[in-house]
């Protein structure tokens, strides 16, 4: 894996791989040529001071953060899905479906310690243009925990134009599976390093939701939401991302339209493709998964049958596909599984699609696992 590269270099490298894919016969997989990178796995039984120490050790295993972040603007996409006022039982969201603030604060602190110039905490809170800090307060979080963890910490709600003057267009190398490009908030382009901090969860439409699926939320609902403007993006975001889930209409005309409007209008087909596209279009330089406490059965309390689980794990890697593949295995699933097999009973495998786009391999035989071996940390989300 490239230890440190610019977005342009990364995309250029991906473009070659992806071009190879697009020229290859249908069904031919490029797994043998896709990049790989080590993944660090660590036991962390509870939230507390051990989170910082554990993450620091894991980042050291991955080569340290300094070469990645020093002097850079680091964008950190958080995983705060759904409404802040909806909980799984009485549990606060950070114990079930949101990444825990201690994982965020520890990451921010370590990025700051590594010399990051700016650390921008990004999320697209559901159906609102309010500040991310306000969204956090609604969940009884304290945003000052993050601004005090390092210097130069900022927030931006990326569910709309936000503080930018215009939307940024992220092109998918090779032309994309669902869209050839996605229009997003400027923050995803105006950064040197992109970090995805996500929760270790299952997902109703994508089987699992990990570091790549977290990027589904970089798409602004002003363009891809249920109430998106027809010609231009709406001013304010409202509703969910029905356009990406079900394809009941096209995004605002100002953004690229779908590659194939006749493709299935089924979220099990569409969501994995959008996620894979986005993982290729907006490369993730560092993937961090909070699996200390989480939920099984779905991605949020709105999914019937969801239940809290305590895998007691932190997972990190410099390649989002290898990281998610290891995480999928740690959840008790086969990352090589295809549609019809768990956890992809009702959807295509995002791992396979991202692999085909050349983002990274899902083949555990090609992924070095650092720290705790998979066999010693594996749980079974279906029986927890």
């Amino acid at each position: 894996m490239k230890k440190d590269c610019s977005r342009r270099q990364f995309i250029s490298a991906l473009g070659g791989a992806a071009a190879g894919f697009w020229l290859s016969p249908p069904g031919m997989c490029l797994a043998g040529r896709t990049p790989t990178a080590p993944v660090s796995v660590a036991r962390c039984r509870a939230y507390g001071p051990e989170v910082l120490a554990t993450l620091e050790s894991m980042f050291d295993q991955l080569g340290g953060l300094e070469q990645l972040a020093k002097g850079k603007t680091v964008a950190v996409k958080l995983n705060l899905t759904g409404p802040a006022l909806q909980r799984l039982g009485h549990q606060p969201p950070e114990l079930t479906h949101w990444v825990h603030p201690q994982v965020i604060a520890a990451t921010v602190h370590l990025l700051g310690k590594a010399g990051a110039r700016r650390i921008r905490l990004l999320e697209s809170p559901m159906s609102t243009a309010e500040a991310v800090e306000e969204f956090m307060l609604q969940a009884n979080w304290e945003p000052r925990d993050f601004t005090s963890a390092a210097a130069g910490v900022e927030f931006e709600n990326t569910n709309y134009l936000g503080k930018g003057k215009k939307y940024s267009r992220l092109w998918v190398p090779g032309g994309g599976l669902l869209f050839k490009a996605y229009d997003v908030n400027h923050s995803y382009e105006d950064c040197d390093v992109f970090v995805s901090v996500a929760k270790l969860k299952e997902h109703a439409s994508a089987g699992v939701t990990l570091s790549m699926k977290n990027s589904f939320g970089i798409t602004p609902c002003t363009i891809y939401g249920d109430d998106a403007g027809e010609d231009e993006p709406s001013e304010l975001p409202r509703g969910g991302r029905g356009i990406l889930h079900r394809g009941q209409r096209q995004p605002s005309r100002s953004a690229p339209s779908e590659n194939d409007p006749r493709s299935p209008r089924e979220d099990g087909y569409r969501v994995p493709r959008a996620v894979a596209d986005l993982a290729a279009a907006r490369p993730i330089h560092l993937a961090i998964l909070d699996g200390i406490e989480s939920m099984a059965g779905g991605e949020g309390p709105w999914i019937p049958g969801g239940r809290p689980v305590r895998p007691g794990l932190l997972i990190a890697g410099r390649n989002c596909v290898t990281t998610d593949a290891v995480a999928t295995a740690l959840m008790g699933f086969d990352p090589m599984a295809e549609r019809g097999a768990p956890p992809f009973e009702h959807c295509d495998s995002t791992l396979r699609l991202a692999e085909q786009l050349g983002v990274g391999t899902r083949d555990l035989r090609r992924i070095e696992v650092l720290g705790t071996p998979i066999a010693k940390a594996r749980s079974d989300f279906r029986s927890l």
Binding site: L85, Q86, R87, G89, H90, P92, S127, T128, E130, A131, E134, L137, Q138, N140, W141, E142, R238, G239, P301
Partner: protein
């Protein structure tokens, strides 16, 4: 004869005049005629034994030929009622022959008359004036006021082919019909006088949603008003026939009324908030200011209302933010007072009429819609285009003030409103939660209160005793994991120590 502000009023439709009225509206069936006749019988008053209802509203005169017969045949009911310590208010909907009707009412022992317009000359009976909300003479001397254009409380439903489907508000959460905000406004504008809320069950209502009646009581009483109890035709028929279902429902309504009577002192508690909303709430400002109050309530934003004419003398102590909604700029004297509030650290959110542009301009998240300035230790936010949309005005007010100043938050409770109040000395405090969902119990609700006090008592509607409840300390406050809420719950704190 005195008007008792603590009356618990109930509509008592019966007799020839009511039968005639219903015949004209094509709603009279033989069953309903029988019900109206039966309710005219003094024996029907047995229903009220043990119930806290103590004031019946009877149709007294409508300028119809049945007026005399109505008044004559009501006498036995009135006499029987008086033996049960019931008061009667006669509704007079006619100006013609009003004097004679009043005289007859006086002789029959009415305690007051309910009029739709102010009398042209003083009457021998106390008058309760009933009018549209926007026409209530707040500054009048009527001892009780009654508003007519109220909503049946609940999640707004539109009848679909497949059944009822909730209407979503602008945020996607269910749209809730509540009169609570209006009761809070009336409390301020009426100078402590009691407000009656007159609203009838929706036409489609039967007795299949018993929670609805309890909610109608709760949505009025929790905010200090009184619902003029109004039962639908089916329920009244069922009560006469003593069907188990109707009897059970009436007993439930009576229990809910008793619950609030037992907690009458709660209605004297003062609203707790760090936000004041200033407006004259009238004329051109009425529509916006009323809807802003409604929508702030939907966001669980607690507020106190300051009527513009009272704002110079009103205390701003303890407030963190003031929103000035009116199109007209405040007087120079009031501007000075508000600027002093800002100088000491307050936030002033003002309509574009605000002309005192002191302070240092700043750029922030709201710069697109507001001109923002730092002044002293505080901030001013002036809506550049005025407040065009009450929804946006409510959202902006909440977020400009910041959720950091929330007093309560509720989780897993989309169809709820809440109301914080405390004794004038702020010893005991109360967080009342109203559940407008008609889908049954709302489960797994967590209440966050900005207090260090972990001990509270949980009151459920109709309960004789509270349940002690211990909270869990979290960032900035305490979380209470509540029992399932049907219509209403209240947390009572002995030490109201909101931070």
């Amino acid at each position: 004869m005195n008007v008792n502000p603590n009356w618990i009023p109930m509509k008592w439709p019966s007799g020839p005049l009511e039968i005639s009225r219903r015949a004209k509206t094509q709603t009279l069936t033989s069953e309903l005629k029988g019900t109206l006749e039966a309710w005219h019988d003094p024996a029907a008053l047995e229903l009220l034994r043990g119930a806290p209802v103590n004031c019946l509203i009877v149709l007294w005169a409508a300028g119809e030929r049945e007026d005399f017969e109505q008044q004559r045949t009501l006498k036995p009911l009135l006499e029987a009622g008086r033996r049960m310590a019931l008061s009667f208010v006669g509704k007079v909907t006619t100006k013609e022959g009003q004097g004679a009707a009043i005289a007859a009412g006086l002789e029959a022992g009415l305690s007051a008359v309910l009029l739709e317009e102010p009398p042209v000359r003083p009457l021998d009976l106390p008058v309760i004036l009933q009018s549209l909300r926007s026409k209530i003479p707040w500054d009048s001397a009527f001892p009780l006021l009654s508003a007519t254009d109220n909503l049946w409380p609940g999640v707004a439903l539109t009848t679909m082919r497949e059944g009822d489907e909730a209407i979503a508000g602008p945020t996607g959460i269910p749209w809730v019909n509540s009169n609570g905000w209006f009761s809070l406004l009336a409390r301020q504008l009426a100078g402590g006088r009691t407000l009656w809320l007159d609203f009838d069950p929706p036409a489609s209502s039967g007795i299949s949603h018993p929670a609805d009646y309890c909610l109608a009581v709760a949505d009025s009483q929790a905010y200090g008003s009184r619902w003029v109890i109004s039962l639908d035709d089916k329920l009244r028929a069922g009560i006469i026939r003593k069907t188990p279902r109707a009897t059970r429902l009436w007993h439930r309504i009576a229990a809910v009324l008793s619950f609030y009577k037992k907690h009458e002192e709660w209605s004297a508690f003062q609203p707790q908030s760090v936000l004041a909303v200033i407006s004259d709430f009238r004329g051109e400002n009425e529509s916006l200011s009323w809807e802003v109050l409604n929508l702030l309530s939907r966001r669980h934003v607690q507020y106190q209302i300051i009527e513009k004419s009272q704002s110079l003398s009103a205390s701003l102590e303890g407030l963190k933010a003031v929103v000035w909604l009116d199109r007209e700029a405040p007087s120079a004297e009031l501007q000075s007072k508000l600027l002093a509030f800002v100088g000491q650290g307050g936030l002033l959110i003002a309509a574009s009429s605000w002309r005192a542009f002191q302070g240092t301009p700043i750029q922030a998240d709201f710069s697109a819609r507001y001109e923002l300035r730092n002044l002293g230790k505080g901030r001013i936010a002036v809506a550049k285009e005025g407040f065009q949309d009450p929804y946006q005005a409510a959202v902006d007010t909440h977020l400009l003030m910041s959720r950091r100043n929330d007093l309560v938050r509720l989780y897993n409770a989309q169809a709820t409103n809440s109301y914080c109040s405390a004794e004038p000395q702020r010893k005991r405090g109360l967080v009342q939660i109203l559940n407008y969902s008609t889908a049954g119990w709302t489960d797994l609700v967590t209440l966050w209160v900005k207090t260090p006090n972990r001990s509270s008592r949980l009151w459920n509607l109709g309960a004789k005793d509270p349940v002690p409840i211990q909270g869990v300390t979290v960032a900035g406050g305490v979380e209470f994991h509540l029992q399932p809420i049907s219509t209403y719950s209240a947390l009572e704190f002995d030490d109201w120590n909101v931070q």
